[in-house]
Symmetry: C2
Subunit: 355 residues, 2 copies
């Protein structure tokens, strides 16, 4: 049985999108149960529409809902312990749920997740990992916006976290990993990226197959399974790709409705276009996974529909089923066992640590 | 008459692509003349294929060609004063040409351009500006990889440089400008980006209409005419967009050849697909303009064909014709006249400067 906690108040549409998504997931996965948090007056009517949910949903009323434009500090001030977002995260902490899904605002969700779940022992900062459709299948790209900037050690942490996710998600033993940079030659790029590359090359046997630097166009090509970068460049890359896909979709629509011949062609090729649209459907890849925390939290896109929110739930489900946290912890242990603590950030406390 | 100097040895294909491009440009613009630099034994045979070029091309032999994998320092050591790349740039410096075009390696071309032409008086670092096709038309995006990182003052310089280019290229009086960031709220993002935003807001009347922060998906949407960022994120955004376009092109090809119905549909809609392909054709937007130097240098993509190289030449031509450098200098003067020098980088030398 996999138990998922749900913040029903997040996203642009709230329970109207979240609750139907639960039904969609339940029809596809029989061993799922939900703990849902939200305001009784808006969630209960939605729940009542789907009698099938009665057996698999446990509902808890919360007075407070974090708003989409709340700053993280505001959200923590007003929403700690009492908001649907906090309580959904807290359900993971206290063992009532295996993973938490919210379409609420990213900054607030990350702040609350850090505050409530805490980062893993050797991890400085969590990252947000996206699943990126590629020509070869899918890749994991992180960080796509949890924090701005990252030093070499944090980039190495991201590489380990992303490796764990790729192993859990794609069922591969030793995913290939690349550091996003502006050129494949060793001479180029930021010092942090170069240093991280050196650390990864020297790290000895790990669960990852480090392949060196990759460039922006390697992401869509699927050159590596895991693309590692800091949150500023990662967020810009993700949004730029989304924008480009939308732009080409517009071009295509315009081209196909321009002439009678094109319209006829469109009718003949309609199933091909449907296939293409499915391939380009961002809802299928919906869900940013928060990595580096003592618990699984998945952020759904705020503007998505029920199918998109269901995809985010299923992502969380898969992460639980495939033991994401165990894999990450094993990889971190392996890495830190091989690296003397003196060369890591924790130098000063090395003697006091639990070694 | 507009005179363009050409490094015939750059790019993956050298003179075989460069020389036919000259003819393509000459058939479209009657007032263009070329000064071509390269090795006699490979350039002359190409020139001889096109008798029409005899009247408008002046050829100079150079012993040395910068290699595509030369590091900037190597290129400077072996190629200064003697290589086709250097001499093409130098032709701009000594007034023999109005702009220089090369498909040679970016690092070497930038290093030589800086060394030979020098940066403009108040400019710290040059930038590379790309023309980005958008849903609304085209935008200028910079820096796409001249240097990694940029402080607030450099970002402001880039905004002014990009404004000058947009004015010259699109013929608009007051282009809209945005700073690339990871969120539109004022609280997010890098300190440098926030500080640059503040400087631009406070700058008073300028030739630009500063619109605040934009995100990755705003680039393709055409939200602003000029998108400003530092070279790491800019390069990653550009390459990610190119990769995404290629990826979707692949999807489309695969979808259209999958079933008989789709193939028939493709035949009917062929002209629409041709139109789409033209829209997505990266050759049309080929050419990175080096901004902030005392001269116009355009970098063509190394792997392009004659049509792509011709587009880079025409970009240089348009920049000359529309007085890019005059516009930039006027904008810089306006900006610095309104800003007391004490708040710029040059504080210490303000009294010794030529004011």
């Amino acid at each position: 049985m996999i138990r998922i906690s749900i913040d029903a108040m997040g996203g642009d549409h709230g329970p109207a999108v979240v609750i139907p998504a639960l039904l969609a997931v339940a029809t596809r996965r029989s061993d799922v149960r939900f703990v849902v948090f939200g305001r009784e007056d808006v969630v209960r009517p939605e729940l009542n529409k789907y009698p099938k949910l009665a057996d698999i949903v446990e509902f808890h009323h919360c007075d407070v809902a974090v708003r989409m434009d709340d700053k993280p500090s505001q959200a923590l001030r007003h929403g700690r312990r009492v908001s649907s977002m906090w309580r959904a995260i807290d359900a993971v902490k206290n063992g009532e749920a295996d993973a938490c899904i919210s379409a609420g605002n990213t900054g607030a969700l990350m702040a609350m997740s850090k505050f409530c779940l805490r980062t893993m022992a050797t991890i400085d900062r969590p990252a947000i990992a996206a699943i990126w459709p590629t020509m070869r299948g899918e890749s994991v790209v992180l960080d796509v916006g949890a924090t701005i900037g990252a030093d070499a050690h944090q980039l190495v942490d991201f590489a380990i976290l992303g490796t764990g996710m790729a192993r859990a998600l794609f069922g591969m033993e030793r995913p290939t990993v690349g550091l996003l940079n502006v050129g494949v030659e060793e001479v180029k790029g930021q010092e942090e990226v170069k240093d991280a590359g050196r650390l990864l090359r020297e790290a000895g046997k790990m669960a990852m197959d480090y392949r060196g630097f990759v460039e922006g166009d390697d992401i869509g090509r699927g050159t590596v399974d895991v693309v590692v970068t800091e949150g500023f460049a990662g967020n810009i890359a993700l949004k730029t790709a989304e924008g480009t896909a939308r732009q080409i979709g517009e071009y295509l629509r315009a081209a196909m409705s321009r002439t009678l011949m094109a319209k006829i062609g469109y009718l003949f090729a309609k199933s091909a276009f449907t296939r293409l649209r499915e391939k380009m459907d961002v809802r299928r890849a919906n869900g940013g996974v928060f990595l580096g925390l003592n618990g699984i939290v998945v952020k759904s896109h705020g503007g998505t529909d029920a199918e998109g929110f269901a995809a985010a739930i299923e992502l969380g489900y898969d992460m639980v089923r495939n033991r994401l946290l165990d894999r990450i912890e094993a990889d971190l242990d392996l890495f830190h066992a091989r690296r003397p603590l003196s060369s890591s950030r924790s130098t000063e406390f090395a003697d006091d640590s639990n070694e």
